[in-house]
Amino acid sequence: MIFAVISGFISAAILPIFSRFNKNLVPKLYPFIPLGIFIYLASYLHKVNTEGAQFWSYTWIPSFGINLDFRLDGLSLLFGLLITGIGTLVFFYTSYYLKEDKYLDRFYGYLTMFMAAMLGLVISDNLIVLFIFWELTSISSFFLIGYKNDDPSSRKSALTALGVTGFGGLILLAGLIWIGFLGGDFSFTELLNSSEIIKNHESYTWIIILVFIGAFTKSAQFPFHFWLPGAMKAPTPVSTYLHSATMVKAGIYLLARFTPLLGGTDSWNWTLMIVGGITMLYAAIHSLFRTDLKSILAYSTISALGILVFLLGVGTEDALLAAGIFILTHALYKATLFLITGIIDHETGTREVTSLGGLQRVMKPVAVAGYLAALSSAGVPLFLGFISKEIMYEASFHYGKWAILLTAALVITKIILFVAGFWVGVKPFTGSLPDEHQSAKMPSPLLWIPPVLLASLCLLFGVFPGILDRFMQAVFTSILPGAPEIHLAIWHGFNWVLVLSIVTLILGTALYLGLKPSQILREKVKAFDRVAPIQLIENIALGFQKFAEKWTGFFQNGYLRNYVITILLFLTVLAGYRIYDGVDVHLDWSQISEITPSEFLVVVLMVTSIFFAMITKTRTGVIVALGIIGLANCLFFLYYSAPDLAMTQFSIDTLTVLLFMLVLFQLPKNRSFSTNKIRIRDGLLSLMFGSMIAILALEVFEAPSYTEVSDYYAENAYLLAKGKNVVNVILVDFRGIDTLVETIVLVIAAIGVFSLLNLKLNPNKKT
């Protein structure tokens, strides 16, 4: 199993080398990676259906309880098959769709990486591993959305998507760690046993808020939905893959996965119902005001995700079953619709639904796929969509007190989604063919076979729902342990739910016939854009930017002297407040060692140099005086038996003087000196700072000193590290990692200096 997961990462990693060797082979070979994994996963179908979840475990970081634990149950298998199955089709589709693209190999790299991350996400059984894969999907989707990297709006969308999902991911991490600590384990299977402990803990509310934010950002729930329409800037295969079938469903997966662990409480159910309900209605209504095929699909996808969240919130047996089936239904028809949108775009060069029509004459198979998908989306009998819709209505209809409200919301959403599906799947193919598209041709089989295949699955599962019985049972059981036995059937008998279905179909048809997509509608709702979440969040982001500019402008004003003043003043005020609060400082003369004549001499030397530095009029004089102070300081280190420190400080001081000389030597003579006023100010500040440091030093002496650490180092330096110089042993052995990181910092500093000095922003201007 681990090979199935990492094979994607490996093939993405070797791709740059591979494509240098033979670029044209990449699109021909890479589709077989998802295909292979799909077959591998499908071979577990029987086992999972009959025996339940399968487990694999590989040790990774056992000391933190983080292991590569994989768990394949109904839910993971459903997602795994969707990811690899739709992945295979998308991989083949892309090989023709982006045939002329010069970065096609790169695209396959991102796509493969994404697939592997997504697969890892749905089968990992360890919360931390799950989080890692979760972030990997965000990162790889950033590359995919921003694939057309010369287009600024595409880059912006990619950043927005990464910002929103990455932000959610971090919040989720906090939630996962919290769950792990409460349950005492990061393994999901183990945690299921402590479900009650977590649910009854006082921080339960916080945990579900954190998990919700993670899931809602990823699955584009209101008010985080705005990144998804923007992400449609990505090439259509990406939208198909990420934004209909896989990535955006990761949040749904997470919620479904956590339902047995955290779900079933009022706060869980109501939050999901309200957020899901708002999202499905809001996005559905939005989709009516779009004319771009992909925009319509984007909003209808958000709406469908809202339905899924809503169903998980309703949380009854029927609702959870409906959620399981709707995941499959939606993936099948939405991926089809996206794929045919790509074909239409590819062949006619436009995605404006208003200017499309009559294409069935030139591309019959594509049209058939479109019809089938639209019918499944509408929930017409004999299609999978019908079955999922029936169970959905069944669930909301029997919800007790709120049944009417919930059912009404669901029915309205479904009616609008009916129209949205027809606009994309039917409208471009019927009617008369406009003149400008007369030249549209039948696309290559690589383009039309994938949607036809997916669309026929909608029909196949709709006519023979029995073949899904056992698999759906497994999915159902993993969302709801101990789920009752199910039998999917086309005919549920004549009841109110059927009436609702018929009402949906009739009203949907009426709305489709009565409402034509048009720009005018879009213009009418422009006024509300100001209060849309995307605007609000953009304003917040802009506010941050403005604040940062002001802040930076104030503190980073470019004058070194101001920096020094700021730092000293801040420290003085901070520590001064502390001292004002009351410190007990008294000198214990008996503890202070005698002052030797040589020490006295050094102090005199230092004080003299300080005064010299203050009155001298040449730069060289100041540098030399400061150098003397530094070196005199080293002597103190030497007196108090710190030869290593003295040696290092000595070298550093010498280097500093050399550097100063190097730079200041070239400057012109000082023209003007500070005025007396400034001198007094600076003098006062220095005095304050100096006395504060002195008081602090005295205070440190007051504190009891602990010598355990230094004793340990002194005792073990030779025993453990075979060194007699304790300082050096600490540097290279006991605290070697610190040293390693510090050397890296040094290198970074050097690179920074080098690149700043060699930076030529304006190539025409000589520095």
Binding site: D644, L659, V663, T739, T743, L757
Partner: protein, 136 residues
């Protein structure tokens, strides 16, 4: 600073200081010294030379771009840190030869780590000072 005395002195000081810096590096484990100080001293030897003869002259002696010393040193330090993995010990564990070598003494992974630090320090210092000198 073209001064005959300074030039002659720094000509002989360069190899001496370099040798001394290696000495400081190697004695570090038992007596005051170590990679960091050693590296600073070696860097100073070159800087002194460049003061006397100019940067071009020094660069022609070094032959190598000091920037390259940084990745080399870092790699050495990291490999030294990783080396215990090969014998199944955690990262950064010191491993040692049983017998001391002539002249150098005991050899262990921390010696190579320190040499890595030595190289990084030389590389960093020279890169910074040389690029400042060049831009002025």
């Amino acid at each position: 600073m073209k001064s005959i005395i300074f030039q002659t002195a720094s000509k002989y000081l360069l190899p001496l200081l370099l040798l001394f810096s290696v000495f400081i590096l190697l004695r570090g484990h038992y007596l005051p010294g170590g990679g960091f100080v050693g590296g600073l001293m070696a860097a100073m030897a070159f800087i002194l030379h460049s003061f006397a003869f100019g940067l071009k002259e020094t660069k022609s002696i070094v032959k190598m771009d000091p920037r390259h010393l940084m990745p080399i040193g870092l790699t050495l330090a990291i490999v030294a840190g990783l080396s215990p993995w090969f014998v199944g010990l955690p990262f950064m564990t010191g491993i040692w030869y049983d017998e001391p070598l002539k002249l150098i003494g005991m050899v262990g992974s921390s010696l190579f780590f320190d040499i890595g630090v030595y190289l990084v320090v030389i590389g960093t210092t020279l890169t910074i000072i040389f690029s400042i000198t060049e831009t002025i």
